[in-house]
Amino acid sequence: MQITEQRDRGVVVVAPVGRIDSTTSAALEGHVQALVRAGERRIVVDFAGTDYISSAGLRVMLVLAKGLRGGPGGLVFCAMTEPVRQVFDLAGFLPLFVIEPSRDAAIARLVGP
């Protein structure tokens, strides 16, 4: 897995490329937790390049969402591939998160129109 990061209108967009599983999730967790520690409060995770995600990755997303709760901003997911969307669905995670089809829509959700 590779992680790319871009900043757009005060939102950090993190894009994990490849697989998010038990062997790669620690790197992703380190990456997003560093953002939270640095004071980032508006985060988009773009799954367009993610082959699949296992529960190790779901845990990272749960912890990240909890870390961003209670303040301004928030966490939005976008561009989920079919395997990613189905794993979120099967785990019962879809209702827990804000999910947009595109990166633009996800950023707009956090900064307003």
């Binding site: 038990s22 699949y52 529960s55 190790a56 779901l58 909890k66 395997p83 794993v87 099967l90 785990a91």
Partner: protein
């Protein structure tokens, strides 16, 4: 169409990676349909990482993973001589809808059961044997099934 292959990997994160790579190679060679492929890749990660984390109590051990494919289904069998443990008896995660109430405990094996058509555990000759099955006839579009 029928194929069968067994790989033995160490009970470590490197072993998990080797087993998933072997499955990808098997899938490429035998034209396993896309959906079956990612479902097993996720399930294998859950099952194997669970054995690595809890099964060996810090000791070294190996895990045998067998892939078996026929026209109707793909079966993956995972065998280890680690601590006896039936993952299907582990508590299932709560389904509370709010984020705060949600805990990730037990998530992995619940996900495996949701991903597969069948998951079966057996303690056989001092070994844990977990069998995962996914039906292929619902997809019907492998390169072999067309003719």
């Amino acid at each position: 169409m029928g194929a069968r292959e067994t790989v033995s990997v160490s009970g470590s994160s490197g072993g998990v990676r080797r087993a998933t790579e072997a499955f990808e190679h098997f899938s490429d060679t035998h034209a396993v349909p896309t959906q079956a492929r990612w479902r097993f890749l996720v399930a294998l990660d859950e099952v194997l990482s669970n054995i690595v984390r809890h099964g060996f109590d810090g000791l070294r051990g190996t895990i045998d993973v067998t892939f078996a494919l026929d026209e109707r289904e793909l079966t993956v069998r995972v065998e280890d001589a680690a601590t006896r443990f039936n993952p299907l008896l582990a508590p299932t995660p709560d389904r509370a809808v709010s984020l705060e109430e949600r805990s990730p405990g037990g998530l992995g094996i619940a996900l495996v059961q949701a991903l597969m058509d069948g998951v079966h555990y057996e303690w056989r000759d001092g070994r844990n044997v977990l069998t995962l099955k996914w039906r292929l006839d619902r997809e019907g579009t492998t390169s072999h099934a067309d003719h």
